[in-house]
């Protein structure tokens, strides 16, 4: 019950946080841009600033949890067995995607 209750709660918390983060993301990209056409230099500058990096790391983390936990829920709904294999596979996919995401976000700092 413990894991189920916590993941259920986190699924809702991440949904709410994602709504806010995606709102900020859209506002930054489409409302707060300084020029008509975004240049490479501007994009690079953004990805070197701490607030942007924090925003996208959070988006990545919450987005991945929400998506993979949602996928796992659908798998359990469909009666998948054994569940430990499914959890292991999803964790591996999640960690892999998180790693790729981090590399993309930190590419101008590394």
């Amino acid at each position: 019950m413990r894991v189920n209750a916590i993941t259920w709660l986190f699924q809702r918390i991440t949904a709410a946080v994602l709504l806010v983060l995606l709102g900020v993301h859209l506002w930054l990209l489409y409302m707060n841009n300084t020029s008509e056409v975004i240049s490479f230099a501007e994009a690079k500058a953004r990805l070197m600033s701490a607030p942007y990096i924090t925003l996208y790391v959070l988006l990545l983390l919450f987005g991945l949890f929400h998506a993979l936990n949602g996928l796992y829920t659908v798998m359990v709904d469909m009666g998948i067995k054994p569940r430990k294999t499914a959890i292991g596979a999803l964790l591996a996919v999640g960690l892999g995607l998180f790693g790729i995401g981090l590399i993309s976000i930190f590419q101008f700092i590394m």
Partner: protein
């Protein structure tokens, strides 16, 4: 076929004899205030005595005549032919349950799950009867709404999650669990909460409200399930005891 007749397509299947199910079509004379139960009785009494179905009280109290009527689980005794607004009616057994014969389903899986949530009140030993929950309290008001379940299985037949996952406890059992978990006099609330908090319990409900849509008593099991989920989380954080 005159306007005073209806065409009834009735599901026929005997698992011990038939290779596959079929539909038999009967033309039935309509009488005033005729219910679907009267239709199947007419077939059994005057056309085909071998038609199998289950019923008891005929007044919507026992819950034994639930059938899948024109694409929706309903009580046959409480469904008037005129309310369907059509001269053709398709009658099938309740979904998500094994078929015994024709329209009679085996309710055992439904009641096995019902038993899992310990559907009876266990009073705290320190309490001396009668211990009441005040009729005007919020707690009483919510429990009262959900107590009218007649275990007809309509919600169980309508639930798409039961159809997808055969282990899922289903709306009726979870609704019953909530009426007991919400009762502060009950001594096994936490134990009951743990039973419904497993992965085949409340977490399989995704608020589709199929159960509420078909409940002949107008209950909303989804609401009870939401309350159970909330209490499972509270119990995890030690707020619910």
């Amino acid at each position: 076929m005159s306007s005073q007749e209806i065409k009834a397509r009735i599901f026929r299947y005997d698992p011990e004899q038939d290779v596959e199910p079929r539909f038999d079509v009967y033309t039935i004379p309509v009488i005033k205030n005729m219910a679907i139960l009267d239709v199947v009785f007419h077939v059994q009494n005057y056309i085909d005595k071998s038609l199998a179905f289950r019923c008891s009280c005929r007044i919507g109290m026992c819950g034994s005549c639930a059938m899948y009527i024109n694409g929706k689980p309903r009580l046959a005794c409480r469904t008037q032919v005129s309310s369907l607004g059509t001269s053709e009616v398709t009658i099938m057994p309740l979904p998500n349950l094994p078929i015994i014969r024709d329209l009679a389903t085996d309710m055992e899986p439904f009641f096995e799950k019902w038993k899992k949530i310990k559907p009876y009140y266990v009073g705290k030993p320190e309490l001396k009867d009668p211990v009441v929950i005040r009729p005007d309290s919020d707690e009483r008001e919510f429990i009262d709404q959900m107590l009218d379940c007649i275990t007809c299985g309509c919600c169980y037949g309508a639930c798409s999650m039961v159809a997808t996952n055969e282990d899922y406890l289903g709306p009726a059992a979870l609704n019953r669990a909530y009426t007991l978990v919400a009762d502060k006099r009950d001594s096994i609330r936490v134990e009951r909460l743990k039973a419904v908090g497993r992965s085949y319990g409340v977490w399989r409900c995704h608020d589709q409200f199929n159960c509420a849509e078909v409940c002949p008593k107008n209950l909303v099991p989804t609401k009870s399930i939401q309350q159970l989920k909330k209490r499972c989380v509270m119990q995890k954080f030690g707020v619910f005891k």
